[in-house]
């Protein structure tokens, strides 16, 4: 595995070189992570990606992480000697359609000991359908890691690197024989009893405990912060108070609220009707603690040769300059690479494949 950070202007040529020289360099697949400010000429990039003889997978994220630092410019190219089987999913008409597609392309693969890279357009609201079917197929047998692509402008654009070219509104999956361990943690703690999600549609919570969701949420936040709810700065007001979906023997799955309308609350990823959520609260200390947990959960007896870090961009926004401390917790040796994402996709090998918000994911890579 060979990783390179490239500035904006040298990225395309470098990628072209890497693709063209792949066979000579014993590169069998490419992982590409770009920051939001990486200018990409979609037409040229499409031609390049389509011409590639080796699988390419990756995306454009708000920022990238390279050897202990985060960058809002440039891209990272990771040459991998592992062969990879990739698949782009863009038909979300039904669970059955996704199931059939996965079965057709990946059904014959033995997922044992493998690592599955999953990158999704963050604005796609059918992510959960794909993860459910992917998990139904492979279960906990492989490790999963990936994240939501896009930028903080939440604009729709081709944000995924695939061998079909740049893709949007899709999910790209790559399976390779890479020995990894995954740790997931966030450090947010519940400040309420579980609230029943009595009505929800996709990523829209309509009622909690049979009451308008925003009213319930506002009351809790105001009570905890001692401040009147500031609707004008919804993101700032809510960044300390995400929702957590309950799960047995595991940290809660964080759902990040980002807007309200008609007393409904919109979260970055779906919350199922009938599930129970708590309002969570965190501070820098607890979040750093979460990062440490993520790192330690990725530890195993095996040697760590590289680190693939997926961390939530909202943790950067929350911690500000103190985020470097988080990076230090995640990768003290500054050996890793990764992305600050809009939703973190991971499974640590003993639970359901989830998309998380406000969460740190560490994937320790034991192979070269």
């Amino acid at each position: 595995m060979n990783k390179t950070y490239l500035k904006n202007d040298s990225f395309f040529d470098a990628l072209q070189n890497n693709i063209e020289a792949a066979k000579d360099n014993a590169t069998n697949s490419l992982l590409v992570l770009s920051s939001a400010n990486q200018a990409v000429d979609t037409e040229k990039m499409n031609a390049l990606l389509k011409s590639s003889s080796i699988p390419v997978i990756g995306g454009i994220f708000p920022e990238v992480i390279f050897e202990g630092k985060s960058y809002d410019q440039g891209s990272i190219i990771i040459d991998m000697e592992q062969e990879m089987k990739t698949l782009v999913i863009d038909d979300f008409s039904s669970n059955e359609a996704v199931e059939a597609l996965l079965e057709k392309h990946l059904g014959e693969l033995d997922p044992n000991g493998k690592t599955v890279f999953v990158f999704a357009d963050a604005l796609l609201d059918k992510k959960a359908m794909v993860f459910e079917e992917l998990y139904n197929l492979f279960g906990t047998l492989p490790r999963y890691i990936g994240g939501g692509a896009g930028t903080l402008e939440f604009n729709s654009f081709p944000c995924l690197y695939t061998n079909r070219g740049m893709a949007e509104g899709s999910i790209t999956i790559g399976i390779c024989d890479l020995d990894t361990s995954v740790g997931v943690a966030h450090g947010w703690e519940p400040i309420t009893e579980p609230l029943k999600v009595t009505k929800a549609e996709g990523n829209k919570i309509i009622t909690l405990n049979w009451k308008p969701a925003m009213q319930v949420y506002q009351e809790i936040v105001e009570k905890h912060s001692g401040q009147p709810f500031d609707y004008d700065n919804f993101f700032d007001t809510t960044k300390s108070y995400p929702f957590g979906v309950s799960k047995l023997d595991s940290e809660k799955i964080v759902r990040d609220p980002y807007m309200t309308e008609n007393d409904m609350i919109f979260t970055l990823d779906t919350i199922e009707e009938g599930s129970h959520v708590s309002v969570l609260y965190g501070n820098t200390e607890s979040l750093l603690d979460g990062a440490s947990k993520a790192r330690s959960r990725a530890e195993s007896s095996k040697e760590i040769k590289n680190l693939f870090l997926i961390d939530c961009i909202s943790r950067v926004l929350y911690m500000g300059e103190e985020f470097s401390a988080e990076l230090n917790k995640l990768d003290a040796q500054n050996i890793g690479f990764g992305a600050l994402t809009l939703g973190e996709i991971a499974n640590n090998g003993d639970s359901f494949l989830e998309v998380y918000n406000k969460t740190a994911v560490v994937c320790a890579i034991h192979d070269n």
Partner: protein
């Protein structure tokens, strides 16, 4: 185990319960619930298996990738087989904790997780697994029931479709005689619109009381005796108030124990059948009464039925005819075999036919019949027999025969008459020609006064006789309808010019001016009978010439159009002696000669009569205006067709060869077999100082024509070896110097047909024998 965990587990179990409850099919419950269990209970594997009579069926596994591994040999499944689990069991399996929950109905729910669950947690989970199992049972039962109901409903629909498709009415009645089933045909028979109008009702509620009562009595008989009633004809009144008839059968409906629980009824509507039978009866009556013979055979032609008319006609009885082929009995030696064959083929092919043939009665008398035979078809249109109507046409055939014979006799008579006329014409004219000719020649010899007087009388009498014969023949032809006008295009200009020239010559020496007046628009070519028109004008102009001692004779000709028809109007105006009013009324009668002056009686008295007849033959009319001593005007109109307007005619087409062209007569070739005529013509030409060569028949004339060019050929029509027509055709169509030489036909025959034929074969003019020297000179002048 912490309180927090307990609370979370409760929440999660509640959520899973909701997930289960929200699914509506067995498959969805399985799939969604397994996923929810795995997700919320943090499990690595979830499976639903069932033990069906010792056989383990894996219903679902998540992840599905493991399905193949979750076989009967999987250690966990073996554990289930070995041990009867009634609540739940936990096992250690490949470093994980496996939990097996019994769901009831031999179903097991297995999940694996890394963290161990306490017994308390398992106990808390158990009721939800039971709810899971119950829901599966319910869904399974529901789906099974739905499947069965669908099957039943399908069967019911099928049965109903079959029942409703049957043309026979079928119904069921219970023991209280209420209808519990009624198919379409039954509903229709009753006159109801829907089944609801019939069901749960007795016949008393549906039919008029008297009819219903009869039905009920039958029903009660079946219920009481257990005996069916078969094919009973019942009358009902349909919803249009019309009587209909049913052939009804009723059977007892029995349950498994043989107890009568109702009645099954069937009813076939036989109204059409009965009406058809009635109609057949009526038709049979009609057929039996008709005087014509009627036979009905089967499809192979064997007699099935005959009527009385047939027996009257043939004397054969029904018993004698039935099962036999009519032809074999009725036809005999005089029967036309071709007709018999045609009839056989038509029957074989199922076709209708009409033929006339001689048949024989039983006593051997032949008779003529006309047979009209048509195939009989069944409702599907298939031929199932034939019906023949035979009418005796013996009398008709005999009448026709007599008619044909009469016609033949008449035609023979007509031919004889025609031959007589032609012969008379030829036989009388030929000697007369000689008489006239010789008289003319005699006049030129030295005669004393007495001889001269005798000669003049002889000449006048013979001329009169010729004119009389000519007129009698013409009139006879017209009256016998022999004159059939032929409407063909001809050049009116040339006709008029020729007439004008002729009468200019005739009037020569008399103080009479001959004038031809033609309107400016007079067409050149018209369609009409040229010869007849010429004859009419000739007659009128001759009359005028005869009766006009001085002054003028004007021929005025013009055409006009009336009601889309073109007409030719000719007027011959003279300044002659005129005709009294009294004479005018008798003018067109036969043998009517008028005028007081004996010298003026120059004709047969038939000329105007013939003229009128000829005009009328052409659908024209003639009129006269006359004043004594001032003159007369004879006008006639004839329908014509204008072909070409003035001066646009292509005269090459219509002009006869050399017509209208002045020829200098140098050397004439004469074809004439009669020696007297040869002599006469020879003398005449010698006197006129014209060279001539005589040929005795057609062959000779053709041979001579090939040798040198003549100025003119005079051609007798009736000659031995080769007649004048053939000779002309030969001359006109072979390479010789006389191809375009004028040929004048000479014949004693007065028939118009001969003149026409002469022109058709290419002759230029026509001169009737006997002709006078002046007539011959006149022809020369026209050449």
């Amino acid at each position: 185990m912490t309180t927090r965990h307990k609370n979370i587990l409760s929440e999660i179990l509640l959520e899973i319960t909701l997930v289960i409850a929200n699914q509506n099919t067995y498959d969805k419950i399985v799939k969604k619930t397994l996923a929810a269990w795995l997700r919320r209970l943090n499990c690595t594997v979830g499976a639903l298996i069932s033990n069906e009579h010792g056989k383990i069926i894996v219903q679902n596994v998540i992840p599905t990738f493991l399905r193949s591994k979750f076989s009967e040999h999987h250690p966990l499944i073996n554990a289930i087989k070995d041990k009867k689990i009634e609540v739940f069991e936990s096992y250690k399996f490949e470093g994980q904790n496996a939990y097996v929950f019994y769901l009831g109905q031999e179903r097991y729910f297995i999940f694996l997780r890394k963290n161990e669950l306490s017994e308390e947690q398992c106990n808390e989970i158990f009721p939800v697994t039971q709810f899971f199992g119950k829901s599966l049972d319910n869904a399974f039962e529901r789906e099974k029931r739905i499947k069965v109901e669908r099957e039943l409903s399908k069967e019911r629909r099928l049965l109903r479709t079959v029942l409703d498709s049957l043309p026979e009415a079928i119904y069921l009645k219970d023991t209280s005689l209420k209808k519990i089933l009624s198919n379409h045909a039954d509903i229709k028979n009753i006159g109801a619109a829907t089944e609801e109008e019939v069901l749960n009702k007795t016949d008393l509620e549906v039919f008029p009381k008297d009819i219903a009562q009869a039905f009920i009595e039958d029903d009660q008989y079946v219920l009481k005796t257990g005996q069916p009633i078969l094919n009973k004809t019942e009358q009902i009144v349909n919803n249009e108030g019309r009587n209909e008839w049913l052939s009804t059968s009723k059977y007892p409906l029995k349950d498994d124990d043989g107890t009568i629980i109702g009645i099954v009824g069937t009813g076939r509507n036989i109204t059409d059948q009965l009406e058809a039978e009635e109609q057949i009866k009526r038709l049979s009556l009609v057929a039996s009464q008709t005087t014509n013979g009627v036979i009905i055979t089967d499809v192979r032609g064997y007699v099935e039925w005959i009527n009385d008319g047939f027996t009257r006609l043939t004397e054969y009885t029904f018993e004698e005819m039935v099962g036999k082929k009519p032809g074999e009995i009725l036809q005999g030696p005089q029967s036309d075999e071709d007709v018999t064959k045609r009839m056989g083929i038509a029957i074989k092919n199922g076709k209708s036919f009409e033929e006339e043939i001689i048949n024989y009665k039983k006593d051997g008398t032949p008779y003529f019949i006309k047979i009209s035979c048509n195939p009989l078809r069944d409702e599907e249109g298939n031929i199932n027999g034939f019906m023949a109507i035979e009418s005796d046409i013996t009398e008709k055939v005999e009448n026709e025969k007599a008619l044909i014979e009469a016609k033949q006799i008449a035609e023979k008579a007509k031919d004889a008459e025609k031959l007589f006329l032609a012969n008379m014409s030829h036989e009388i004219r030929t000697p007369l020609n000689a008489i006239i000719g010789m008289t003319s020649l005699l006049k030129d010899t030295k005669l004393d006064a007495e001889q001269t007087d005798y000669t003049i009388n002889l000449e006048q009498s013979s001329k009169f006789l010729l004119s009389l014969i000519t007129d009698i023949l013409d009139l006879a032809k017209v009256e016998s309808g022999k004159v059939e006008p032929k409407f063909e295009p001809f050049d009116l200009d040339i006709l008029l010019q020729n007439l004008y020239s002729t009468f200019l010559l005739k009037a020569n020496g008399k103080p009479v001016k001959v004038i031809l007046e033609k309107s400016d628009e007079l067409p050149s070519i018209i369609k009409g009978d040229e010869l007849l028109i010429q004859q009419i004008l000739n007659n009128l102009l001759s009359n005028a010439e005869k009766f006009t001692p001085e002054g003028s004779i004007t021929l005025n000709v013009h055409t006009y159009e009336e009601d889309g028809q073109s007409w030719l109007k000719c007027a011959v105006i003279d300044t002659g002696i005129g005709i009294s009013d009294e004479d005018q009324s008798k003018l067109f009668q036969k043998f009517n000669q008028f005028g007081t002056d004996e010298n003026n009686k120059k004709g047969s008295g038939l000329g105007l009569c013939i003229t009128k007849e000829l005009i009328e033959v052409m659908e024209g009319t003639i009129s006269v205006k006359s004043t004594i001593n001032k003159g007369s005007t004879f006008s006639f109109v004839l329908p014509i067709e204008i072909i070409e307007a003035k001066n646009t005619s292509d005269q090459r087409v219509f002009k006869k060869i050399n017509q209208g062209v002045k020829y200098s007569i140098d050397h004439i070739l004469i074809a004439e077999d009669n020696l007297m005529n040869q002599k006469y013509i020879s003398r005449l030409l010698q006197k006129l100082n014209i060279k001539f060569t005589i040929a005795n028949n057609g062959k000779e004339v053709v041979a001579l024509a090939k040798e040198k060019e003549y100025s003119l050929i005079l051609m007798d029509l009736q000659m031995p070896e080769m007649d004048g027509y053939e000779a002309t055709i030969e001359i006109r169509n072979s390479k010789n110097p006389n191809k375009y030489t004028p040929i004048i036909a000479l014949t004693a025959s007065a028939l118009v047909e001969q003149r026409k034929r002469a022109f058709e074969v290419g002759m230029s003019d026509f001169l009737s024998k006997p002709f006078t020297p002046d007539q011959l000179k006149e022809k020369f002048s026209l050449m």
